[in-house]
Amino acid sequence: MALTITNLTKQYNTQKTALTNYSININKGVLGLLGPNGAGKSTLMKIIATISKPSVGTLLLDGVDIVQKPDTIRKVLGYLPQDFGVYPNLNAYEFLEYIAAMKGIGGKGLRQRIDLLLEGVNLTADAKRPIGTYSGGMKQRIGIAQALLNDPKVLIFDEPTVGLDPEERMRFRQLISDLANDCIIILSSHIVSDIDSIADEVAIMQDGKLITHAPQYDIIKQAEGRIFEVLLDNNALNQFKNQYNVINTARQADRIKVRYIDTKGNVAPESIPVTATLEDAYLFLTQKNG
């Protein structure tokens, strides 16, 4: 299964262009989408999910144009939007049966499938009470269950770990890794650690454009030799920030350990080079192209 996106542009009006001439090939495995707010990640995912039409460009799923024939992908699509809701008066069973009906799934195995999915997201005990009484994390888990109802071949997760606690996030990542063997998973998250632990490939977006798309290792390589750490006095931090792109800071006794990007070949005295991470590479590339 392969999704080929060619010269995609989405223009909302004359002033606002969400995506510009965007092209990418997505194959089986996990593609992590990274980018600052307004980069066009959600727009791209909405277009792939067929709920938004591109202004220009083609999207082919195994050679079939899904802009013209959206039902081709809808049959095999699992979609977890960023700010989805639920019908508060339905319980988990009724809600999942409803989503199953929307997706065109039925038969005798449906109830068993729903039972297993509810067990999998640990909602069995609460499955018969209205979803309106669920906590944020529980709603997020019901969202994950609905995305998996139709044995999807294309899975789109937009900020899926919002509302999940750290242990749930870890389990969710494991779930994604298990599912990635025979389907396309597109995962957008602001939490870089969500992506670096599971994404086979990473696409970094900025201002509606694709900055880079490569395996994680290759992306990290682009920042190698650019990331440094240095220990500073407390009162020197503000001045340092004016000169360098600081990634993060950590208090250590009476000093501060500062991790920064050197883009100008102007390394601060007493700095030591460190191994780049995906987060470093992401910040390096977005600042370089910003």
């Binding site: 989805f84 339905l90 929307m102 009484t133 998996l148 044995d151």
Partner: protein, 528 residues
């Protein structure tokens, strides 16, 4: 004061920047134009036993002012009674609750914003009334005061109270929209009955709409000049065929200081309502409102999650564990769930009222069941149908719905069918009685009407993205049906409408609506 102004401004802009408000304004222009009907019209808006005023400044200005005051008080409540609800749904209320703004100031800002919305509509009718005078006033002189004063002393104070009542209803009755409507219209009915019975008072102090003063002045004028003994004047859209009226020249009212002062009292009454409401306002803290049953459920949930000790279990969701998929592209499961959602929407107690009306339709005289009980019973479902296609967006389910398999061919028809199923189920007593008397036209008319009202709800929901316009429209339609207005008779209850021509007209309307709503939805599902 500045921040109060900013809250009112933001609230007002939020409400008025919508297609439904634009359509409401367009309907207002039409209604305001029809307040002063041409001589050839088959209706009148102010009738005094065969007498009608000459279209001078006073008649046009006062009739427009009084009709605006009366009609907008009647349906304006529906238009504005969701200001606090919106803050709950968008969770803006939680932010407001953490600010220093007091309950009184917050509710006052909501009331003033309601009032501004109603005043905007009033402003339009005012302008249209002058335009109508210029069109229909023949050679009568234009006197601005005859237009300004009725609006100033009738509409402006009355709408202030309506705006306050909308806030009060939201504070005390929360999300129970239908209960709010019922209580408001009961109050409205009681108020009108009081005005009609007692004539308010000689001074008109207790009449928020100013109807009694005008009635008294007109009847006195006619009785004096034409030696009649007329006791009352009828307001509203009165259909009476092409009747010939005797004309009289009425020059307006003499405003008394006590009447003008009483308008300030009505405004004070509105402020008093807001103050009392502020003492009971929940300030977006709903913990107190949680029922014992809900508390039990919540505590059970907390225990179950904790006891389980684990959360997502990837091993149980793996493909090898899940049973094989079988596909079912039929729409029956969708209809079933949509019907379930319709039934569960709103308060359970309302079903008691529905059931009582449903049974009453079997035993009441057929004419009353058909012309009065059924339209009222159908109107009581207004919030169910108005949410039929808007609930996806309200509940943010539209991502799933629009990305589902063939949403236009499966999802939308399922929603429409569920709505029609409910309408027909509620109409069954009248349908069965019509069948038993072999009244085929009535049966077809009822089915046509049931379909029409659902298609209207769906079409207006899709086109405006909200439910308000349908709710107001359905209310006015029901009012017109109960008043036997011929063109509003969507259920075909009038004997003249038991004819093929009428059935074809409604059928054509249904087909047109179907085409429009499918085209609009087709666009909508691909343009999020």
């Amino acid at each position: 004061m500045q921040y109060l102004y900013n809250i009112i401004k933001a609230d007002y802009l939020q409400r008025t920047r919508s297609y439904s408000f634009l359509i409401t304004l367009a309907v207002t222009v039409f209604m305001a134009y029809s307040f002063v009907p041409p001589d050839t019209a088959s209706y009148t808006t102010l009738s005094a036993l065969g007498y009608k005023g000459v279209y001078n400044s006073a008649w046009v200005g006062y009739v427009s002012g009084i009709m605006t005051s009366f009609m907008l008080s009647f349906y304006g409540f529906l238009l504005v009674n969701s200001g606090i609800k919106k803050d709950i749904e968008t969770e803006v209320g939680l932010i407001i609750a953490t600010t220093p703004v007091t309950n009184f100031k917050y509710l006052l800002s909501k009331q003033l914003s309601n009032y501004l919305v109603l005043l905007t509509i009033t402003g339009i009718t005012f302008i249209v009334s002058i335009a109508v005078f210029l069109v229909r006033g023949t050679d009568q002189p234009f006197i601005l005061g005859n237009f300004v004063f009725p609006y100033l002393f009738f509409a402006i104070p009355a709408l202030f109270v309506v705006a306050a009542l909308a806030v009060t209803a939201e504070v005390f009755l929360g999300k129970r929209s239908i209960l709010q409507f019922i209580i408001y219209f009961l109050l409205f009915g009681i108020c009108m009955a009081f005005i009609n019975e007692k004539g308010g008072s000689d001074t008109g102090v207790f009449d928020p709409f100013g109807l009694s003063l005008m009635t008294k002045s007109i009847t006195q004028h006619i009785n004096t000049h034409f030696n009649e003994d007329i006791k009352s004047v009828s307001f509203g859209f009165i259909f009476n065929g092409h009747k010939t009226f005797k004309l009289f020249a009425w020059e307006g009212l003499n405003w008394t200081p006590i009447f003008i002062f009483s308008r300030l009292l009505w405004i004070g009454f509105g402020l008093g309502l807001i103050y009392i409401s502020s003492l009971f306002f929940h300030r977006f803290d709903f913990k107190q409102a949680v029922t014992i049953k809900k508390k039990k459920l919540q505590s059970a949930s907390a225990v179950s999650a904790t006891e389980a000790g684990q959360l997502i279990d990837p091993m149980r969701i793996s493909r090898s564990v899940l049973p094989a998929l079988s596909f079912n592209y039929g729409i029956y499961p969708l209809i079933k769930t949509e019907f379930l959602l319709l039934i569960r929407q709103g308060n359970k107690w309302l079903w008691l009222l529905n059931a009582a009306l449903w049974v009453a339709m079997f035993v009441a005289p057929f004419k009353y069941a058909y012309s009065y009980l059924l339209p009222v019973l159908l109107f009581l479902q207004v919030t169910r149908w108005s949410e039929l296609v808007t609930k996806e967006k309200t509940n943010r389910i539209h991502y799933f719905a629009y990305a589902s398999y063939k949403p236009l061919q499966r999802m939308l028809p399922a929603q429409i069918m569920a709505g029609i199923l409910l309408a027909i189920s509620l109409s069954l007593p009248v349908i069965i009685r019509s069948i038993s008397t072999s009244n085929l036209y009535a049966v077809i008319g009822l089915l046509n009407g049931a379909v029409l009202i659902v298609l209207l709800a769906v079409a207006l929901g899709i086109l405006t993205g909200g439910k308000k316009l349908f709710e107001v429209f359905f209310f006015l339609l029901t009012y017109a049906v109960i008043n036997q207005v011929p063109f509003a008779d969507y259920l075909g209850s009038l004997p003249d409408h038991h004819a093929p021509f009428f059935i074809w007209i409604v059928l054509m309307m249904n087909l047109t609506l179907t085409v429009v709503l499918f085209i609009a939805r087709r666009y909508q599902i691909r343009h999020l």
